[in-house]
Each structure stands twice: as C-alpha cells, then as structure tokens.
Amino acid sequence: MSKIEFRNVSFSYEADNKAVNILDGLNFKVEEGEFACLIGPSGCGKSTLVSLLLGLQFPTKGEILINDKPVTGPDVNRGMVFQHYSLFPWLTAKKNIMFGIKEAGLLKSRKEIAKRAEEYLELVGLADSADKYPHELSGGMQQRVALARAFAMDTDILLMDEPFGAIDPQKRIELQELSIELCKKRGEKKTVVFITHDIDEALVLADKVYFMEPHKIRTEVNVGLPADTPREELIRLNRYDQLRHELLDLFTEVKVRTA
C-alpha cells in the first residue's frame, strides 16, 4: 500500500468555453516516509497536483488515494506550507502556530497548545519573535513560522508548494537544512511532497525526484545519495553531478518539445 496514490488523474477547467487541460492521465505514487520532490518547468501543473492532493480542488477524472481512501477534502492528516502569504497577518507568530495546533485537534488545553507552539518556535530559532506580527518579520522568518506551524500540527503528510521560492539563496539554504532536520532527523519520518523548480534543492532534500512535464509525470529518479552527509560534501559527489545533469537534460528536452 502506498501512502499517496494518483490513479489516472485528469484535471481541466473551462475558460472561454474551451476546456483547458492541466493534468491528463497522471499516475504517481509516494511511499510512507518518503521525501518526494516534484520538479518541472513552470506551468506544468505542479501546483494543481498539490491543490488536488490537499483537497482544495477535485480531479475531473481518476482518483487520488491517501492511505487507500479517496480524498474528499482537506483533512487533518495533511499539512501545507505555501510559497507565501499563508500566515494570518492579524495573529502573532506564536498565535499563528497555536491556531494550527488547535485546528489539528492535537491538544485541548490552551496552556498545552501555547507550550507546544513555543517549542516549535524555539526549534526554528524564532523564540524571540513569538509576539511579533507577520508584517514585522522578514520573508524568511515568516516561512520559518509557517514551517513551525506545519510541523507543530504533526500531520502524517506534509505538502510544500515552492516554500522557499521567494527567499534569497543564503536564507534558502538555511531553510533547506531546517526542513531536513525537521523531516528526517526527528524520530519518525514524515511523508513529504515538495514542489520546486530548483534542481539543487530537489537533490539535497529528496529521496526521490519526480520530473513533471506538462500534464503528467515524465519520469522518476531515485536519488540515493548518502544520508547525513553535509551539504558541501554532498554537492561534490559524482553521483550528485550525474543526477544534476540528468535533470538538466530533462528540462532542456521538455522545453524544446513544448516550444
């Protein structure tokens, strides 16, 4: 049994009386505890795939199974980190996390919820900013809070839609390291679907990289890089280079075909 399974999923919407195909007969499986990166050119339907998986939209054909049950809407077993603007601007960092914990139904008492929120803020290194509002935090800090909220909700599955897309390279690396730590090193491994268009980000984070071309998954790549290797060593491995070229070639090929 796969944790997540897309069976022949198609998605289209109507615009000016014409059906616009986004996904067409897509098949895709993610195993329990796998860190899956979806990579592909812009406009290939990556975000739609996540939105379907989250249950905000529904496939026009085919079905999506999570734990062998079809997706009928958002559920507490899935957490989400968006690219930006996902924190509630009227709540402080801590209250934002508390909101998530409360909605996940993990804890009942306000005291325990507050304590858990503080723990996760500490974990992402923002203990000092607990009482700041999102507009007082930088983009990177906001994304840390969003990560803390998603992890504090302790969902089985974590969906991330280009969570670091709008962040400068140095902060981006920090946040990637933080994600690895939160996802992999803390006891039970989470099932993660992570969307990116950055090849290095995918290789550093993923167990498996799924390359998406418009409408469907083109191919999957087993990364198989040694775990617990520092980033500097990782990117100098031959295997890393080889994977990188493989993915770059795919990008070029898909671009040529769609051009």
Partner: protein
C-alpha cells in the same frame, strides 16, 4: 564623490534646522497677530449689540493655543493657512455684520451671540447631544452587528449570495429619507423610530460592504485556512472577521457622517429632543444665532467621534497585511 554628497546633505540639514526655528517663530507670530486682532475687535462696540463675548474670546483663544502647539510640535510640516483662514472669516463677519451693521442682524447674527448660546443653553444642548448619541449608538450597533454578520455569511455561502445580492441591490439605494415619515408613524415612540431609521439606513451599505469584502479576500489566506481543515464557523469568525476588522473600522469613519445626516434629518421631522430638533425648533422661531450654534455643535460632535475612531483604530489594530 561620496564625501561631497555627505557634506552637501549635512549642509542642507544644518540650514534646514536654523530655518525651522525661525519658521516656528514666524508661524506663531502670524497666528498670534490674527488671534489678537479678532479678540481685540470683539471688545469694540458695534452697531449690532453683542452683550457678552466670553465664549467667543475663549474659543478664539483655544484656536490660538491649538495652532501654537501644532506649530511647535509639527515644526516644518505646520502651515498657518487654516488658522489664517478661520480668523479671517471671523474677522470679516465681525467687522461687516456687527461693527458696521451691514446685513440683517437676524440672518447674520454676531458670532459673539452665537457662541454665547453654548453657555446659555448648555443644558439643552448637552441633553440634545446625549439623546442624539444614544439613538446613534443603538441604531448603529444594530446595523453594524447584523450587517456584518449577515454580510459575512451571505458573502461566504454561494447560494445565499446568489439569492440575496440582487434583493440587496434593489433595496439598498432607497434613501432613508423616503421611509422616515412612514417609520415615525409606524413605531410607537419617536426614539424607536429614529433607531429603526438608522438601523435600516445603515444596514444596507454595511451588509453589501461585507459581502464585497468576503468576495475580495486574498485567496491564499482562504486556502491556507482550508488547508488546516477549519470548520465554517471558524472560517467566518476566526479568519474572515478578524481579516475584515480594519476595513470595517475604516468605513466606519465615512459612515459616521452619513449616520448623522440620517439622524439629524429624522430629528427634524418629528423629534422632541436632540440636536436636529434644537436646530429645527429655532429655525421655526427664526433664532438663527441658536441655529448656527446648533450647526457648530453637530460639526464638533462628528469631529470628536472621528478623532475617537482614529485613536481606537491605532490602539486596537496592531497588524498590517503582509
């Protein structure tokens, strides 16, 4: 290059500072000159009698104090234009209508007499303000609570939105003045009728405003809430409502003037107390000194309410959209 620029900016900063002290003194001198002239003139006996000028002098003095304080606090940003304009108007009015006796003293009473009404009729005016504010607060609270909550629900639930938006679009443009006499006849007391007029008159813009707000809320925020699997009540009261509060308070400031328009109009039709009644009553007696005093009071009350709303907005809303 850099040095030259720093030097340059230092220089302009330096000269700006000396300039600003001189300017403050100049501003205060201008305001004082005008205030002094207006106050001195009010002691001169004119063709039209003005037995007392206590309140007039007090108010002119207050304007002077306010503008002097602003000149000191705001420094370069302060301009004496408004003070000069206000004093000039009083000066022209005083010289023309009171001292020289041009015009009809009934239609253009001396401002000394107008302001003296505040003291003479202070109890009547205070009661009027109290009564008007009571009606306003009750009527507006009803409109605010029902309009926003119903607007939120109708805006969120598509089916209700389709049903009620067309109805609201037909009913909302009907001016409250049209149904005011009917409501006064229908309701048991005038007070309840005024409350109903304000409640209904303000309900529609608030209701439609909230529907629009829900429709234009940032979809990322909604998705983010949906991703956390929130229930509909949570979505409405913990996400959409807090998100809307700043814009609700913002439109409150505009609505305050509209409400006063409806209220004063309703009071002019059938009240036995209140500011509108005060103005209407003395218009009927052609006591225009009191009418003008009443008009000034209405202006002052609206201004004070607006200032209070501004303060409340700053204290209560600490967040900004990201």
């Amino acid at each position: 290059m850099t040095d030259a620029r720093t030097l340059n900016s230092l220089e302009t900063q330096g000269s700006k500072k000396t300039y600003s002290v001189g300017k403050i003194i100049l501003n205060i001198a201008i305001v004082t000159l005008f205030a002094g002239t207006v106050i001195t003139l009010s002691f001169i006996k004119g063709k039209v009698s003005a037995p007392k000028n206590t309140v007039y002098v007090f108010i002119m003095g207050f304007i002077w104090l306010y503008h002097t304080a602003r000149a000191v606090i705001k420094k370069d940003e302060y301009h004496p234009d408004i003070a000069v304009l206000i004093y000039s108007l009083f000066l022209i009015w005083d010289i023309n209508f009171r001292i020289l006796g041009n015009g009809n003293p009934v239609l253009s009473p001396p401002m000394e007499n107008v302001f003296e009404v505040f003291l003479k009729d202070s109890q009547f005016i205070a009661e009027g303000i109290g009564h008007s504010l009571m009606i306003l607060v009750i009527g507006f609270s009803i409109a605010l609570i029902t309009g926003n909550i119903l607007g939120m629900i109708v805006g969120w639930v598509k089916r209700l939105n389709n049903d009620f938006t067309p109805i609201a679009k037909v009913l909302s443009p009907i001016p409250p003045m049209v149904y005011t006499p009917y409501l006064i006849a229908l309701m048991p007391t005038f007070t309840s009728a005024s409350i109903a007029v304000i409640g209904i008159g303000m309900f529609w813009p608030i209701f439609l405003g909230m529907i629009n707000r829900v429709g234009s809320i940032n979809s990322r925020l909604i998705d983010s809430a949906k991703a956390m699997n929130v229930s509909t009540p949570t979505m409405l009261f913990k996400v959409i409502l807090p998100y809307s509060i700043p814009s609700i308070v913002g439109s409150l400031k505009i609505q305050i003037s509209t409400i006063f328009m409806i209220l004063i109009m309703a009071e002019m039709i059938g009240a036995t107390s209140g500011l509108g009644f005060f103005i209407k009553k003395y218009s009927d007696y052609a006591d225009y000194a009191r009418v003008l005093a009443g008009i000034f009071v209405v202006g002052a009350v609206i201004t004070i309410l607006n200032v209070l709303l501004d303060i409340a907005e700053k204290k209560l809303i600490k967040w900004k959209a990201v």
